[in-house]
């Protein structure tokens, strides 16, 4: 079947099968490998992408459900001039990843949070991010990175 949707700011049309997940279409059909697959049961958050701004687990979200919607993946955050999204920069600055396998999903979940709540408290960050597992960092630097990105974004919006 035909699937037409907005992907990282551009319209895309692809053929997909009824049983294909959004993660499969992104990775296998569109070669967008930034979206990682780990648990495949919607527990770990590695495959998180945004659909109409809301975080979804692409590993269990049927691709066809995204028809006519706006999908944002990790590949859609960097600007054309190479400027990183404040969250991406903050993850680098705070050493908020090690192996990096959870990182795309982690950043997408954090983006959903900051888009809705630009000044989250530590507890709000922890609550929102609880569906994303990281096995390397112990989460401490990730919380710091999200706080740092929130500050950067609030300064940018005041400019």
């Amino acid at each position: 079947m035909k699937l037409l949707f907005q992907l990282n700011g551009k319209p895309r049309q692809v053929d997909c099968e009824a049983q294909e997940t959004l993660a499969e279409v992104l990775r296998n059909t569109l070669n967008l490998n930034g979206t990682k697959i780990s648990c495949e049961v919607q527990v770990c958050g590695a495959c998180t992408v945004l659909v109409d701004g809301a975080p979804v687990s692409a590993c269990t979200y049927l691709a066809y459900e995204a028809r006519g919607k706006t999908v944002t993946t990790i590949e859609g955050l960097e600007k054309a001039d190479g400027t990183l999204h404040p969250l991406q920069q903050a993850f680098i600055d705070e050493f908020a990843f090690q192996c990096g396998f959870c990182t795309p999903g982690m950043i997408m979940s954090a983006k959903a949070l900051l888009d809705e709540n630009p000044k989250p408290t530590r507890d709000e960050i922890i609550h929102h991010m609880d569906g994303n597992i990281c096995r390397c960092t112990g989460y401490v630097p990730i919380v710091a990175a999200i706080q740092r990105a929130a500050e950067t974004m609030s300064k940018e919006s005041k400019k």
Binding site: N33, F95, C99, F101, Y139, V140
Partner: protein, 765 residues
């Protein structure tokens, strides 16, 4: 970090942002899971439903006839290969041959046009089994009438990395035994002023690297090429070379970014099966396991430990004795080394004059156990550090003071025959104690403890590298060390940049391609900074020596007239940087100089361990007495790393390790019921999440430049895990007065212990 020495380093000892930062935050970092080759087929694995059974027959005809299937590979199809592998004991068939030894063991693989087709065809394979009696615990495996898992005798693996006999395959289910002994333990316990004794259980755990095991293999007459998520590509190369009976030069392992290791990707896993699939299907094949399958591939050894420890009237530990039985699962993997390490690590970082530790690992019909971060240490640090607290309480000493009084001192040969202790535990413990507010008032229901760990780390010193200095002054490091996330792609260039006096940005790393990068035995046991770091430093210095000779040649002066300066040379008024030296030498602005280093068990690395990995952790917890739930109020880590080449990365290793240790202390445990793993899924296996984050976290480093590695560095990254379960158990005792000798300390276990204590008190009352 007030305890840090001031240093005048240009590049090392600075928290330079990670080299792999941008690729990882933009989704551009490539893992094997992302790899596709032209013409690649996909494999899926049929696994045994039985824990122990004879394979009577396998009918694969219907599966092979399924549209889209290239071939089905079984244990009957391996003629022409040596199908058994194992670096320690060659006991592991790449697919079950004649019998299966655990529920979940690979029995057949389907190779098809895509994963879905391969998966669909699995149900058309008809396997007839005859079920056999199984054994699932060390006790069952040792019983007189216990069925044997392995009937045949084994060759010792060629690359075991330790000395001693192979115990496996000698007519029992014993996989490996190990024993250490000094002093007179019996006499010491008789004369002791106080003795504590108990039985402890450390659970089976799953490392959960978020990228499950994956390999892509292409077998042709040119050789065997494998892309893998392996931590130790050179060790895997040896197994694959033996299976295919090829020279080393015809086996190529390539490891791109790895999505987490923690020891679980040490040694050979899915590579032989993937290669056998490619060999049969005559095309490149990818085998990507699911997390559920990864949980059926490797776990940590669970350990049953009886231990007793004695002190004299002065508060000096005088003796420790332990008997450990480890559950190794169906195949040896790295468990023989885990056994050796856990035996040694019972001594803890304490100077104890009388020691007797006996350890025995048993084959059982469960998932094979192998390395897991800090291998063997966490298993015995739960009893070891628990007994330090128990003994301190018995003789009325403060457990922190008791540790200070007994911890191994810098330079002390506390473990006969081993390298003298190269850490500063007093400072480590003081820092941890201060961070958790030792001696300050504590709320009711709260408990505060510190614990330490000092383990024989660094594995085996066999490492080589090449540092290539190019004519533009930039540098390429060729390293067999794998970037697992620990930061080797950042730390190694820092060392080369420091040594060569070139900007960090101009040093690049090529890693873990056995056809290109020089040999490195492994990426584990916290060894990379110390061993590969030393190799990079030596190779950089060797390149400098060569460039000094070249400079003398171009300037037509004697070598003695050349003076080394940062980033180049000086001769009288003339100053040349490396780019100028190389360009003048070749008379073209191109070409290179190759510095080399070969590290072996010799010189400063003659004594083992390579270094003692020392660390302290401190915790404050609170216990909800209604539910038994533990809350982590505070966590402090102290990594005794000699010199942190990159302090932020070193601290990141400590908090990561401590969090894994906290998971084991609080809720992580693989549970078997009879023959079946009951919680073999991330839905059921409880991992630390954001909401488990301790309320307050402090990370500290102790940097006394006392390591054998570059600039006084030594390794870190495991030790903060080791003491966490014991720390939590000790803190629960101090908070609510119950001693739990088993991890994890789940709410149910704590609640039951509290209930038992209450009913005992009521009985007395």
């Amino acid at each position: 970090m007030s305890s840090e020495k001031k240093t005048d380093f240009h590049v090392v000892n600075h928290s330079i942002p990670r080299r792999d930062g941008r690729v990882k935050v933009t989704g551009r970092a490539q893992y094997v899971a992302d790899l596709k080759l032209i013409g690649m087929a996909y494999a899926k694995v049929l696994r045994s439903p039985y824990a122990h059974a004879k394979i009577i027959s396998i009918d694969k005809s219907r599966a092979e006839a399924h549209p889209g299937v290239y071939c089905v590979v079984t244990g009957y199809d391996l003629d022409g290969l040596n199908p058994y592998f194992g670096h320690a004991v060659k006991d592991h068939p790449l697919l079950a041959i004649e019998k299966v030894r655990y529920a979940g063991e690979p029995v057949a693989a389907v190779v098809a046009v895509d994963e879905r087709t391969a998966f669909e065809a699995l149900e058309f394979i008809d396997v007839k089994y005859q079920e056999l009696k199984g054994v699932f615990t060390p006790e069952e495996a040792m019983a007189k009438d216990a069925p044997l898992l392995h009937e045949r005798k084994f060759e010792a693996g060629a690359l075991r990395g330790f000395e001693g006999d192979v115990t496996a395959g000698k007519g029992t289910n014993i996989c490996q035994t190990h024993k250490i002994q000094w002093g007179d333990v019996e006499k010491a316990f008789k004369e002791a002023a106080a003795v504590v004794e108990g039985n402890y259980y450390f659970p089976m755990t799953y490392a959960y690297a978020m990228e499950p095991y994956v390999a892509v293999a292409d077998v042709t007459d040119q050789g065997v090429n494998i892309y893998s998520s392996a931590q130790h590509p050179f060790m895997v190369r040896h197994d694959v070379k033996s299976i295919f009976n090829l020279p080393v030069s015809k086996v190529r392992l390539i490891v791109p970014f790895v999505g987490g290791g923690y020891g679980s990707k040490s040694y050979t896993k899915v590579e032989p099966l993937t290669a056998a699939c490619s060999w049969k299907a005559k095309r490149p094949v990818k085998l990507q396991l699911t997390v559920e399958e990864a949980m059926l591939t490797t776990r940590s050894d669970d350990a049953y430990t009886w231990m007793r420890t004695a002190a004299d009237t002065n508060g000096k530990i005088i003796a420790r004795q332990a008997k450990i039985f480890m559950n190794t699962g169906a195949y040896a993997e790295n468990s023989p080394l885990v056994v050796e390490k856990s035996t040694n690590r019972c001594v803890g970082p304490y100077a104890i004059p009388n020691v007797l530790i006996e350890n025995c690992s048993l084959y059982t019909n469960t998932v094979p156990a192998s390395s897991y971060r800090g291998f063997g240490c966490a298993q015995v640090t739960l009893p070891g550090e628990s007994q330090i607290d128990e003994l301190a309480a018995k003789i009325g000493k403060d457990p922190y003071e008791f540790r200070l009084a007994n911890a191994a001192k810098p330079g002390e040969e506390f473990f006969p025959g081993m390298r003298p202790f190269d850490g500063t535990l007093k400072q480590d413990l003081e820092t941890a104690a201060k961070a958790v507010g030792w001696g300050t008032p504590l709320a009711k229901g709260h408990g505060r403890t510190v614990a330490c760990s000092g383990s024989d780390a660094g594995a085996y010193p066999l490492t080589s590298t090449a540092v290539r200095v190019h004519a533009d002054g930039s540098v390429t490091i060729m390293t067999g060390s794998t970037e697992l996330g620990q930061g080797s792609h950042t730390v190694l260039p820092q060392i080369a940049a420091e040594a060569l006096g070139v900007p960090f940005e101009n040093v690049n790393v090529v890693s873990s391609d056995t056809a290109i990068t020089p040999y490195d035995r492994s990426t584990g046991a916290s060894r990379t900074t110390t061993l590969m770091g030393s190799a990079v430093l030596e190779a950089s210095e060797e390149a400098i020596q060569q460039m000094v000779v070249m400079a003398a040649d171009v300037l037509k002066v004697k070598v003695e007239e050349i003076q080394k300066v940062r980033g180049g040379i000086r001769c009288g008024e003339i100053q040349l940087n490396w780019s100028q030296v190389i360009s003048k030498f070749y008379a073209l602005p191109d070409g290179e100089v190759i510095g080399r280093s070969y590290i072996r068990k010799s010189g400063k690395f003659a004594a083992l361990p390579v270094f003692w990995e020392a660390a302290a952790t401190g915790v404050e917890i609170s216990v909800d007495e209604e539910t038994g739930k533990i809350t982590m109020e505070k966590l402090a880590t102290v990594g005794d790393v000699g010199l942190a080449i990159n302090p932020a990365l070193a601290e990141g290793q400590d908090i990561g390790a401590a969090t894994m240790g906290m998971g084991i202390g609080l809720f992580e445990e693989l549970v078997y019921q009879g023959s079946q793993l009951m919680n073999g899924s991330i839905l059921d296996y409880r991992l630390p999440r954001f909401s488990d984050l301790p309320k307050k976290v402090e990370l500290h480093l102790v940097q006394n430049q006392d390591g054998v590695g570059p600039y006084g560095a030594k390794g870190g990254g495991e030790a903060s895990l080791n003491s966490m379960a014991a720390n939590i158990a000790n803190a629960v005792d101090r908070a609510v007065g119950v001693r739990i000798r088993q991890a994890p300390l789940t709410p149910e276990r704590v609640w039951r212990a509290l209930r038992d204590k209450k009913s005992k008190m009521e009985d007395r009352g």
